[in-house]
Amino acid sequence: MPRWGMVIDLNTCTGCGACIAACKNENNVAYSSPEEAENGRALSWINLLPRYEGEFPNIHIQYYPMLCMQCDNPPCIKVCPVRATYKADNGIVAQIYPRCIGCRYCMAACPYTVKYFNWYEPKWEPEMIKSFNPDVSLRPKGVVEKCTFCHHRLIEAREEAMVEGIEFQEEQFVPACVETCPARAMHFGDLDDPNSMVSKLANSSRAVRFLEDLGTEPKVYYLSASEKLI
């Protein structure tokens, strides 16, 4: 069973925001209104977290694409009173929406703050509903949602392999954000496969994980940006 993981190269990431847009479309993530967004209730499974360091003109800017870290030891599943969130065998932390009672304990427990609560009914213009991705179900008001590593694409890729009568290949499964990244800064694959690009990058000296000391064992790695030359 592969253990899916992601490596994001901060050296090549240009902070363009394509991953945000691709994710919202792929997963039918609802739009906020300006008022809801003002209250910090906008939904976005992947976000660019800005970090500004220093003062003009010696400033260092870095954007960190922040998505669910798909922890191997996820704090969110331990606090869920109804077991709506659980870790699947392939390492993806999943959320069963109909079971979720909206207590938001998992959001409080998540040290990365990458779980989002549906504060409002998803509102769509009737015309735009036509362009929904039929592979992903919509979430109603009152449940928590988060990045699934585009889990539906994995199921689809498996089905495809089955229909075609071929063996399922690791490369067939790519989340939408990784697929769209124009700078090829995001890598995805099996962390347990020593020959895969992700496992090589995740084992390189540049690889870091966020809040590693909490023991959450996140499966999203970041390759640190190189030092400035001048």
Binding site: A37, F56, D135, P182, S196
Partner: protein, 808 residues
């Protein structure tokens, strides 16, 4: 790279996509929410179609996923030589454009006053009849040149068809309301030709970017991100160093190896300071400068008159201490930069918005481009190459009857006139002045093709007045934007996902590329392809049928694709090798699979979406300069000729030194507003999500518009905390920004990447109409811009306005 893109084997595969979706909704939830939660429960047939993204000038290849013929996702096309499978955020918003609730659904005729918003839906035959009658009447009066076709810098087949139509009709007026080639000026004066540069970043070792936001909107975004990422790969033999010179720490600055902030409008001085060190320390490319340039040393013209050259001017005027004072860059950094620029060849100096938006842009651009000559990187591997533009697609010459010939004899309305030296072919300032004064002839009918000058151009009030006074304005817009609101007739065009087109001429790419747009979906509304309208109008105006003879637009582009096929050059890429690999393989005699006949070629073209030709090597064009001296001219003789033409014209105020005005030099930018009254500079800049404001009607982009500051759905003003403290303004305070002209209300955002004394505003928000999402969202910085038009280019100096800030 480790990740292979999912390939095309899934085409036409029947997927049981509902197996894992839509099942979760419990009955209670499903009862509450009827349609939208159930919309996704049935299985569907999946297909993919390749086409071209037209939401920005980047021309990326995209593929659209369709379930039961219904488009659901847009992704990058992995075999597109431009984006290699990547896609910028704007590209993902295409379906929201297609299914936007505020699209204009049918032809509309104005019934109330202009701009009153009262419209009547009419049928297409009726609408076309109205346009044809207007056009025929003007033509029969002998005034075909009173008709203007306005666009936002279009290209490809549509552009060619419109040019053909307009000249056969008899009007020289096909005018872009945006600057089509902001890089042109130094090429016109120093190379002697109107060219577009393409940069060979991949083979370059040192890139000195003067205010060009190359990772933002300048340069096709997906293409540039891809190239940048390539230069940052650890396995490369050499490192490419980026240096960004601009006042704001944009993403390009943050990702560069060095960000050097300089005062607004002083980039040209810095370039000359670098040239000083290159000359003083003898670091320039002697071979290139001696063999291929003119005017470096002092020179004597054919009348025997001596002139001073670039070398002496620079050595006399631009010593580092002086330049440091002008630009704010430290002396040691200037010296370091020059040494590194010379020491890491091939090196390129490029320029962008923070140079072209000032009143001194012309000589600044020349100064920066001089560095390329000094480092010998013109037409070199790893340097600046002239973008190839010889596409094997030709259109037949228009048939001109006597009316058309007479009409075409008139100067176009945007031609720079004889009261000032104007170098570019299209002078926007002049155009606006001409329609304002109705000189040399009045404008009676204007077509508006996907451009929104009332919103995009500065001097909003004036431009709005001018457009409201155009006797008959016909818009092809899909949305009710600020200019379309003033139209008399609206003939809504398809969106790019509904139409056939050939797209070529993507700026800044060093190869020939033709993208094929195909309709991925049947037209959603009662709209019509503008190309089809042009063809039908040609049929209704007698002599034009001899020029525009094709039955429909698809036939037009098929005949152009036939020319591609017949030329025998180029190929249809069927897999992604990356640019290195193409050149590598072609150099070694590799031949791509060629189609046996045209039908096969067309089928391949439609399936894969692009045609590509790599140019032959760049070395032999090294000396291809079309100046009088046939060399690169530091002292421009073309400019000398231009100036001498207007020598006796009293209205030309030429106080400059006659030698100096031929050479790259620094002159201070003229800012609007007195410094004591308006102490802050205002710099509007572009966002990759909005461009000139077209993106503002899509919720996807509006919600993420300010992601670097976690701001959504609104505009913000970036300001350095130090400056803010001076005016006792806190983060997130509402303020008035006031220029000489007008004031706007906006929220302040602290930003350490902002230079003290400058306020930065994003362009693109602040629409007064343009659909439910865009209306009254944020502010439009164009409203308060108060500076003037730059004379050589005829463009507005957008960043040369001073403002003051008032706390609310």
């Amino acid at each position: 790279m480790g990740i292979k893109r999912r390939d095309f084997f899934k085409q036409s595969a029947l997927l049981v996509s509902a197996a894992h979706s839509g099942r979760w909704a419990s009955r209670a939830v499903a009862a509450q929410e009827k349609d939208i939660f159930q919309g996704s429960q049935k299985a569907g047939k999946e297909t993919w179609k390749n086409t071209v993204c037209r939401l920005c000038p980047g021309g990326c290849g995209i593929r659209v996923r369709l379930i039961d013929e219904q488009p659901v996702t847009i992704a990058g096309n992995p075999i597109s030589p431009i984006n290699h499978g990547g896609l910028c955020p704007t590209g993902h918003s295409g379906l929201q454009q297609l299914f936007h609730p505020d699209r204009i659904s049918a032809p509309l005729k104005r019934v109330g006053e202009k701009g009153s918003g009262k419209w009547e839906t009419i049928s297409w035959p009726e609408a076309l009849q109205m346009v044809a009658q207007k056009l025929l009447a003007l033509r029969n009066q002998g005034n075909p040149h009173h008709v203007v076709f306005l666009h936002a810098g279009f290209r490809g087949s549509t552009a060619r068809l419109v040019q053909q139509f307009m000249s056969a009709y008899g009007s020289p007026n096909v005018i872009s309301t945006r600057e089509e080639n902001p890089y042109a000026l130094p090429f016109l004066t120093m190379h002697g030709r109107n060219a577009r540069p393409a940069y060979d970043f991949l083979n370059s070792r040192f890139i000195l970017s003067f205010g060009k936001d190359f990772l933002g909107t300048e340069g096709p975004p997906a293409w540039m991100a891809n190239i940048f990422s390539e230069t940052r790969q650890p396995h490369r033999e050499f490192q490419t160093h980026f240096v960004q010179i601009s006042s704001r720490c944009s993403m390009s600055s943050a990702k560069s190896d060095l960000w050097l902030p300089v005062y607004p409008g002083t980039a040209g001085a810095l370039a000359l300071g670098i040239a000083y060190i290159l000359i003083l320390e003898d670091l320039y490319d002697h071979q290139f400068v001696e063999n291929f340039t003119f005017g470096f040393a002092d020179w004597i013209d054919n009348k025997g008159k001596p002139h001073s050259g670039f070398k002496n001017l620079v050595l006399k005027e631009y010593y580092p201490e002086k330049v440091a004072k002008i630009t704010g860059a430290p002396v040691d950094v200037i010296i370091q930069l020059a040494r590194r620029f010379a020491g890491n060849k091939p090196s390129i100096a490029i320029y962008g918005e923070e140079v072209t938006n000032y009143t001194n842009r012309f000589y600044s651009q020349m100064a920066i481009h001089s560095l390329n000559a000094l480092s010998g990187s013109i037409n070199m591997k790893g340097g600046i190459v002239i973008q190839p533009d010889k596409y094997p697609i030709s259109v037949p010459k228009s048939f001109l009857d006597s009316i058309a010939r007479r009409g075409l004899k008139h100067d176009p309305l945007d031609k720079g006139s004889n009261d000032q030296v104007s170098l570019v072919q299209s002078d926007l300032a002049k155009f606006l002045r001409n329609i304002e004064e109705q000189k040399p002839y009045p404008l009676e009918l204007a077509f508006l093709f996907h451009t929104n000058p009332v919103f995009e151009l500065p001097e909003t009030t004036r431009v709005k007045r001018l457009f409201a006074h155009i006797p008959y304005l016909i818009s092809f817009s899909s949305f009710m934007d600020e200019t379309t609101e003033l139209a008399d007739l609206i003939l809504p065009d398809h969106t790019y996902l509904e139409k056939w087109d050939l797209d070529f001429g993507v700026p800044n790419i060093p190869f020939l590329h033709v993208g094929l747009s195909q309709p991925v979906v049947e037209p959603v509304l009662d709209t019509r392809h503008t190309g089809e309208i042009i063809i039908q109008l040609a049929k209704m105006i007698d002599p034009l049928t001899r020029t525009v003879s094709s039955q429909n637009y698809l036939q037009t582009i098929r005949s152009q694709a036939k020319m591609l096929y017949d030329s025998g050059s180029g190929f249809i890429p069927t897999s992604d090798f990356g640019q290195f690999m193409y050149t590598y393989m072609l150099d070694r005699g590799f031949k791509y699979y060629k189609a046996e006949d045209f039908e096969q070629f067309w089928k391949g073209f439609v399936t894969h979406g692009s045609w590509l030709e790599m140019p032959a090597g760049t070395e032999n064009t090294r000396s291809a300069f079309q100046t009088p001296s046939k060399k690169f001219e530091f002292a421009s003789q073309i400019l000398q000729e231009q100036f001498s033409k207007y020598k006796n014209n009293s209205s030309v105020q030429e106080s400059r030194d006659p030698d100096l005005k031929l050479l790259p030099h620094y002159e201070p930018c003229e800012f609007s507003g007195a410094e004591d009254k308006y102490p802050l500079h205002l710099i509007p800049y572009h966002l990759v999500t909005l461009f000139e404001g077209e993106g503002a009607n899509r919720p996807l982009l509006l919600e993420m518009v300010g992601y670097p500051h976690l701001i959504r759905w609104n505009s913000w003003a970036e300001i350095n905390p130090e400056t803010a403290h001076k005016w006792k303004i806190h983060d997130s305070d509402w303020v008035w920004l006031e220029s000489e002209k007008e004031r706007i209300k906006i929220r302040v955002k602290y930003f350490q990447g902002a230079m003290p004394g400058i306020v930065y505003l994003p362009i693109g928000l602040g629409h007064t109409t343009y659909g439910c999402h865009a209306k009254d969202r944020g502010v439009n910085p164009n409203q308060i811009l108060a500076s003037g038009w730059e004379r050589f280019s005829g463009q507005f100096a957008r960043q040369a306005t001073r403002v003051r800030i008032l706390k609310i």
